[in-house]
Symmetry: C2
Subunit: 530 residues, 2 copies
């Protein structure tokens, strides 16, 4: 089929209509930290460039969210305790020890306990954040008087959700995770037979045993949510809104879910009318590289360039692993750019450039880019997909294995675990396989073509729907309120039980009657005989 | 909030990208008759104007689909029997008699039997259509050699679905109904607790009794599908594809479902990634009226105009009802345009113009339009919504009551049944209520604003996704194949039962063991005592 560029009159009219924009909107944002903030910041800049004024609510202990920005104004709520995000390095060390078999069952239990505690503490601090904010009458009055159009938040933390309720404002999510795993789980029917739970490492095609595993993961997530996390937020709701306001209703009642995936990446699954897919909204065509990087990249000649990054959180790997990685890179004819913060590995080759930070999107979009060694964070994976660069995955924790699995299932990535990197040339062989087997690149470029072939870019889609909520004061018509039904009604348990009871009565009543009549007759006969 | 027109650089770039079109695509269409054809014809004209060549497959007994058109070529498959669509007038007469209480239970049973028979016969003829086509080796070879890009069909009839399988082509639906009710029911989880079944006359908020009714409707639909309709198509599959090919799999396995509703009209519900909403794709801004109609409309002065149409199928109502309707219209200060094919009512007023056909969309979009008296077909309801014209509904059969109910629930319509039209000034009062109570018009205009506020028009969206399927040879990544699982796996019945069995074994095994040990000891003691 021939593809040409053309502009039909009707299309152009349509375009004009879709560029009607809302100016002067006022948006209150309660963001999350880390890579989530990197995302939200892109959205904020886009909203700012469309003429909206953005106010960001953060704590005084924020790690990422800057106080001063040309794109937004901040409101800082004091909390006494900061979340200690150094726990991540301690967790990574434990994970590596466990994966290497150097640890006992006790270490495994202690790792799980540490992760649960960290999560519990994070939500505890978020609840403190909300409590301090709601107690501050002056602040709440001023927020009320500012007449915002909506609250935009990441619902993996609950402060923004409760703030929207307190201010009676429409609520929009920039979301991938909620407290109980993947965002869809809160509102879309999710049959466990083909919807793999977060962290289960399963795909949408499962064996019987895998489906059992999936059910167990579902129980763990729900228990964690029901016993550890929701009660904390519910306590804040009880204190400020009264016990009739359920936190889970507030979470499920958002107007729109701007979901940071799409179905080129995610396995197909049931969804809801108020879920808008914006996966890869942060991706854009590559900009020119800084001069020194461009020079380095060009020096790779026909062999091209590899980049490696383990994301925002992972700053250090154990020296023995980094040495193996560096030695593997040194064997390759490609040039390598490695985002690495620890000590300089002793085995580093001349072909490898170590950097503190790199323009990842611009490098991935460079024509000389051959391969991305990635930890599997959503952002990196989406950028690799957007630019069609195949991946060697080195997942560490959270959703990283699940993310990389989605690429692997489509033949666009290969996966290593941290514990096998240093064994039997595993790492260099994985890289060479992806470099030399053309199907990896072809599959990733197919994903890239599918992902880019949308009627409107994901970022424009996000902006359209945020402004839609402003124009119509919400999007209630897209939201089912079925979550307000009791579970037995939602699942028709009451109807089915009544139906079965009726059938039983209709079946047994004549039997009982017949039996009664027979007995009566028998008795009479006996009496007569006597 | 101020709304202005503006064009940002990035938006324009995006627009250019989204207007990249596929030229020279070859599309094979197996349409449905009646108002479904009216819809499909609009789609065909749009596809033709985008440079695609369209071939329509029809029978020699087609009622609506013309043989000659500048927009498509036809392939005509001979069948010996035509579907007798006059049955509709007979059914309408029976419905009116029943609604008026002039009929016995016997008439009700006979009506149901007649409707089932008509449906059964319709699908029987469609199966004959498919059989004759598949038997014609020459035709099938020629279709195969023509290398179409996809089959576009309306899955309420199954011929196109099986043809796509026979030709191994991607399959796209222009759909609202399937054989077992509303299209979503085939692929999206549809909890009966808040998804009202077609024909049930229920909304998404149901009492316990209504949920029981909904379950009964679900059973009826499924029985009708399972015993009357699917077996006919399955027999064709068995004959030509072998028994391992299940018709229900073919139905569920379409690449895309272009669904002729949106969530301004339909109650919010779970959906799937491969369902694209194109509700109202046939609507467009009003064109100028023919001179005589414009003159008539203008003569209404400040009072404005009312139009009435009972759609494609209903040509005649009983004379006593049309007389009441005409007399009611005669009392109004408005001018009335009435699409009516029967005898001229004796009570017709000077303000009422009877027409055989009218440019409904152009009239609905006229500034003097005040009210639409409609039977509730999807097309008319969507057009009324698009133009923001409130409705007095006179539903007769099929989905009409359900369609009008959706407007009524949003305060944009009022409903009458045919049997109450002629009692106590009901009809004229209903019209006056909608004319005089401003909320009807305001609510409908709110729906209109919501419906029109989309990033891309429904027709452009339909065209984009049809061309997407051409560009990528299908859209498998948007389609879950969970429908291929056995029901007990899909609903995790096997997993849950195994889990319960394991729990039971773990609980009872120690008890059994303890009991065994105790018994052993007791026995020994007894033996010792002896």
């Amino acid at each position: 089929m021939r593809r040409i560029k053309g502009e039909k009159k009707r299309r152009v009219q349509q375009v004009r209509a879709s560029t009607e924009i809302c100016h002067g909107g006022k948006i209150l944002i309660v963001p999350l930290e880390g890579s989530h903030w990197v995302n939200m910041d892109i959205m904020i800049k886009a909203l700012h460039s469309r003429g909206h004024s953005v106010v960001v609510v953060r704590t005084n202990k924020s790690w990422y969210i800057q106080d001063n920005s040309p794109h937004y104004r901040t409101i800082t709520v004091p909390v006494t305790e900061a979340f200690n995000h150094d726990f991540i390095n301690s967790i990574i060390k434990k994970i590596i020890d466990i994966e290497r078999g150097e640890s006992s069952l006790w270490s495994f239990a202690s790792l799980q306990a540490e992760m649960f505690t960290a999560m519990f503490n994070m939500h505890r601090i978020m609840c403190k954040f909300a409590t301090n904010m709601f107690k501050d009458k002056y602040l709440m009055n001023s927020l009320n008087e500012s007449k915002y159009d909506l609250v935009l938040t990441d619902p993996a933390w609950g402060t923004g959700i409760m703030l929207a309720h307190a201010l009676k404002l429409p609520l929009v999510y920039n979301v991938r995770w909620i407290t109980s795993g993947e965002g869809h789980m809160a509102i879309a029917p999710s049959p466990l037979s083909y919807i793999p739970l977060t962290g289960s490492g399963l795909s949408d095609k499962m064996t019987f045993i895998q489906r059992v595993k999936n059910l167990i993961f579902s129980v763990i997530w729900q228990a964690q949510d029901g016993f550890l996390i929701h009660p904390q937020y519910q306590a804040v709701c009880d204190q400020f809104f009264g016990p009739e306001v359920r936190y889970s209703d507030l979470l499920q009642g958002a107007d729109l879910w701007l979901m940071r995936v799409d179905f080129v990446f995610e396995f197909p699954r049931p969804t809801m009318p108020n879920v808008i897919y914006i996966g890869g909204f942060q991706c854009e065509p590559a900009k020119p590289l800084p001069e020194h990087l461009e020079e380095f990249v060009q020096s790779s000649g026909e062999h091209g360039v590899i980049i490696m990054s383990l994301g925002t959180f992972v700053s250090e790997l154990p020296a023995d692993i980094t040495n193996v990685i560096a030695a593997a890179f040194a064997k390759l004819p490609q040039k390598v750019i490695w985002r690495h913060k620890g000590d300089r590995p002793a085995t580093l080759g001349n072909n490898t450039l170590i950097v503190d930070w790199m323009p990842q999107n611009d490098l991935l979009g460079h024509p000389k880019m051959k391969l991305f060694v990635a930890h599997g964070g959503t952002n990196g994976v989406q950028e690799a997909m957007y630019h069609g660069v195949p991946v060697v995955g080195l997942p560490v924790f959270f959703d990283q294995y699940d993310n990389l699995l989605r690429l692997k299932e489509r033949g666009a990535a290969t996966l290593l675990t941290i514990n096998t990197v240093d064994k039997d040339n595993n790492f260099v062989e994985a890289i060479q396989e992806v470099l030399n087997e053309p199907s990896y690149r072809m599959n990733m470029q197919r994903l890239s073509r599918l992902h880019r072939d949308q009627p409107i870019t994901p970022l424009d889609n996000a902006l359209f729907w945020i402004e839609f909520v402003m124009r119509h004061k919400g999007a209630a018509h897209l939201r089912t309120e079925s979550y307000k039904m009791p579970w037995y009604s939602y699942h028709s348990v009451d109807v089915v039980l009544s139906f079965l009871a009726t059938v039983a009565v209709i079946t047994f009543l004549p039997l009982v009657f017949v039996r009664y009549v027979c007995l009566e007759k028998c008795m009479k006969r006996k009496t007569n005989k006597k």
